[in-house]
Symmetry: C2
Subunit: 320 residues, 2 copies
């Protein structure tokens, strides 16, 4: 990953993550070509949401370019569960994704678990998340089926890694030692798994949601996470952090630039920008991460498929 | 269940469900005495919520009277996951329950799945709910470990059954044929499983939540459910139903009595009454169901435990 090491010397300005996405997509592409793999993703869409439609187009473009078939299936939400179950059984389908919200709320959480963990390229099933929190690397006792990590948090960790923030001179699990990271979002699909992953790498994470802040740190046992309550006000968590990660799905939520200290790395994964644009005059700003997320979707597809073939890419555990 | 058949002739008035609860608790008690069982429930509480405290007291009272040990553990929410995992492994614990909300939202949904399905007496795990929707009766392929059904929906079905609404002269699966039932609540822990169970018994269910109405009916294959969209206004769903089931957690939500037709059975499972009190002058009103829910909790405990012993109560599948 030598090509990105110079970004760490950049103390401010907007960062385009395209080269990071390209790096991981090329890895996947080479692997697919080398082994002549025929892999197919099926994506279910139940609405006419333009954002989801656009995202599905970009995903299809990327996948097709990298040798992966991508089929968008527009379906009625009341039929979705049955159709997911069919895709679970269909040997020609290797990865399944769903554009949420479908019904909204906990029913969507249920649907995330209808996707079999073996084709869950988004990494949203409870099984894959539970395993992430408990440092369990395989879906099965025989250790033939690897777990995946939710796409968006994985993309953010890869971006941080490629910005040169990880101190690789420290032992594994301490690469982010001494770093304070504030994550404004504690959803089960991004904010919480992300906070756990960053804590697992040694950071002190302030996890903020509408109800308050919870701290995430490394637990006593390897791979476990310790959560603790805190009274630190949200503003202070934003002021004192080295990395600020924003994911509030509202254009009205904007962090005041004055609050953020110079040189902070600001990563925005909300559909809208959660910080004032002028922040880039004193900070590194990653305004969007979608391209890297798509590359992680491809990577997860390969990882899940790897249980049935041997590839050079996956003879070793990926670093994350 | 001959003792309740006269309630069906009652066309109005408040119904006290205590005798129904007593019937099921006595079944459990006899079974525990007969086999000298030593069963223990552990209940986790992370707040000082008075409602939860009261409910835990009533549950403890009932359990102790029926020969079941009940231990309330007050814990910090940040420690809850680890403590559930310990209880999962503790052979002296046979049933685990948690008073929600803990964090609120999807994180609570995650915690519901941390409780092992084998001790999930509340029936809240995705596994137990998925199996309910797909008519899968056992947790394992060898069919030694029975699934349970979420307590509250199960209690409501038992109340309806004991009110004499089920037409047992019809074939199994059609006992509610021709009945229209409206359920105002589509949560994953009560409203949706309940709607599926009632549809599975032949009813046409109008499932209402804040976003609109979905119809639930029997699917083509045995044990499956068909959901479909509808434009029927909420008021009409409430007007035309034979049974109205209310579970809106707000004292401000009150169905206007004028809207409900004479002779409707109104069952309220919200903590507050979702209908005007005067409804009992023309309808059957079941204002609270908590006692039956507790009896179902005991019943589920026994059902989950039944895989390791043989009891007369469970040599046959319970009717639901």
């Amino acid at each position: 990953m030598e090509e990105y090491k110079d970004i760490v010397h950049q103390k401010k300005g907007k960062v385009d993550v395209t080269p990071i996405a390209t790096f991981y997509r090329n890895e996947v592409k080479q692997c697919i070509e080398k082994d002549s793999l025929k892999l197919k993703i099926v994506a279910f869409l139940t609405t006419n949401d333009q954002g989801a439609l656009d995202y599905s187009k970009w995903t299809k473009l990327a996948c097709n370019k990298d040798g992966i078939e991508f089929e968008l299936r527009k379906v009625e939400r009341v039929d979705l569960e049955d159709l997911i179950l069919e895709a679970n059984k269909d040997d020609s389908v290797h990865g399944i994704m769903v554009y949420y919200p479908v019904f909204g709320g906990m029913l969507d959480g249920y649907l995330q678990d209808v996707v079999t963990p073996e084709k869950d390229i988004e990494g949203l099933s409870t099984r894959n998340r539970f395993n992430l929190y408990h440092n369990i690397r395989y879906l099965d006792d025989k250790q033939t089926k690897k777990c995946v990590i939710p796409c968006t948090p994985l993309a953010i960790v890869k971006i941080i890694e490629n910005l040169g923030i990880y101190d690789k001179s420290l032992p594994l699990g301490e690469h982010l030692k001494g770093k304070v990271i504030t994550v404004v979002n504690r959803s089960e699909i991004v904010g919480r798994p992300l906070s756990a992953m960053l804590a697992n790498d040694g950071a002190l994470v302030h996890s903020i949601d509408i109800n308050g802040t919870i701290l995430f740190q490394k637990g006593k046992r390897e791979g476990t996470i310790k959560m603790s309550e805190t009274d630190v006000p949200k503003e202070e968590s934003i002021q004192k952090c080295d990395i600020l990660i924003l994911g509030v799905p509202s254009p009205n939520y904007k962090v005041n630039s004055d609050l953020v200290k110079e040189g902070t790395i600001v990563i925005n994964f909300a559909g809208c920008l959660n910080v004032e644009e002028d922040i880039q005059s004193k900070c590194i700003l990653v305004p969007t991460i979608g391209k890297v997320t798509i590359s992680m979707l491809e990577r997860n597809l390969l990882r899940l498929y790897s249980h049935s073939f041997t590839s050079t890419l996956y003879t070793q555990q990926p670093s994350k």
